[in-house]
Symmetry: C2
Subunit: 219 residues, 2 copies
């Protein structure tokens, strides 16, 4: 059945191994959780033996750490530059950031790490702390500044910037949470774009109909 039944039993490819182990581990951790994934499963999915995994990682936990490390590095460098020191009406920026985040979250790999962290945080609190330091503590202050500027320059009502971050991002997070955890999606599927559009309309201009739109009131 194999294309090469008489091929060598293994190859020596020390350079590529760690990445392959991390890929395999991520897939399995997401699918079955950290505890239920055996090191041997990771090994065989990565195409080597259990013993070989321990040549590259000192423990099972170290694999998880490597996973989070690898995910954290690009984020810090990524979506921050074009947010900082922005002045002027923040609404277009918020719109495009939300759309970008929403699009990112639709890609399979992106949610995997936070999902994993939420599950395993209790067993590895240091890991969650690291994610917080490297990702959240960098992104949140920038958002806060953006909103503060919006208030200072009169584009926004005088709202609390810290708390408003939750009003901006919360709906997208809840949407993903409902879909991922309980399989609750809108009638037409995930509909991430429509969610963002619907949310932005409410976010900027509110749920309440303007007076001119009120056709009739409750009897």
């Amino acid at each position: 059945m194999q294309t090469e039944p008489r091929g060598p039993k293994f190859r020596r490819r020390a350079e590529a191994r760690p990445e392959e182990v991390l890929d395999a581990a991520l897939a399995l951790f997401v699918e079955k959780g950290f505890a239920s994934t055996r090191v041997e499963d990771i090994a065989s999915r990565a195409g080597l033996s259990k013993g070989a995994v321990y040549l590259y990682f000192p423990s099972k936990e170290a694999i998880l750490e490597g996973l989070v490390q690898r995910a954290v590095v690009p984020i810090a460098a990524n979506a921050l530059g074009f947010l900082s020191n922005y002045t002027g009406d923040p609404r277009p920026v918020i719109s495009s950031v939300l759309k970008m985040v929403a699009h990112q979250l639709t890609q399979p790999g992106t949610v995997a790490i936070p999902k994993l962290l939420i599950r395993e945080m209790i067993h590895f609190p240091e890991l969650a702390a690291m994610y917080r330091r490297e990702v959240l503590d960098r992104v949140l202050p920038v958002l806060e500044q953006l909103i503060s500027n919006g208030v200072a320059e009169g584009h926004f009502r005088p709202i609390d910037p810290q708390l408003t971050i939750r009003s901006i991002v919360g709906p997208i997070v809840l949407h993903m949470l409902m879909a991922e955890v309980f399989g609750i999606v809108p009638d037409e599927g995930l509909a991430m774009e429509r969610l963002v559009d619907n949310h932005l309309a409410i976010l900027f201009d509110g749920l309440s109909a303007p007076q001119s739109d009120r056709r009739f009131m409750a009897t």
Copy 2:
């Protein structure tokens, strides 16, 4: 040292045992996760031996099931009656529901079960499905109806009811998630009431300042 060093080794209290086991299990599952909690830990915290636990629950998993069952029953009966068949301006209802939910979430026991489910759902999908059936599938349609009515009667802009639920509840969920998972709370503490007030202001009337409030624009 004991007040009663010669007291009996145990008491026969068959009626009270299951509840005590569930209480002990909930505390430990929340603290250390399902897998890392040994049945013996549950037993000793509940004040009996491991063997006795198996007189009341056929397996460790059955304890978890019992936990979710116990949490689910009151919810279905609780906050639904006063929401159904409501007509008229939904805004006061939404305000009080959000405030009620926010207050509930501050009580320690309430978040425990959903937190547990998010963590253990992968290992026990049937349990998450049950929670969805018994809680979410009952609450969400009522909220959806409430918003639909608001739109039909002209109180709200013509927004999508299903998606708008996320805009209403998402910020509270994210607030709890940030606090519980990453320990990120506003400067003054959890500030749940201020969060709800800030959010309701945005939710009903939007983030954008009305024209009259715009003192100056970006240069």
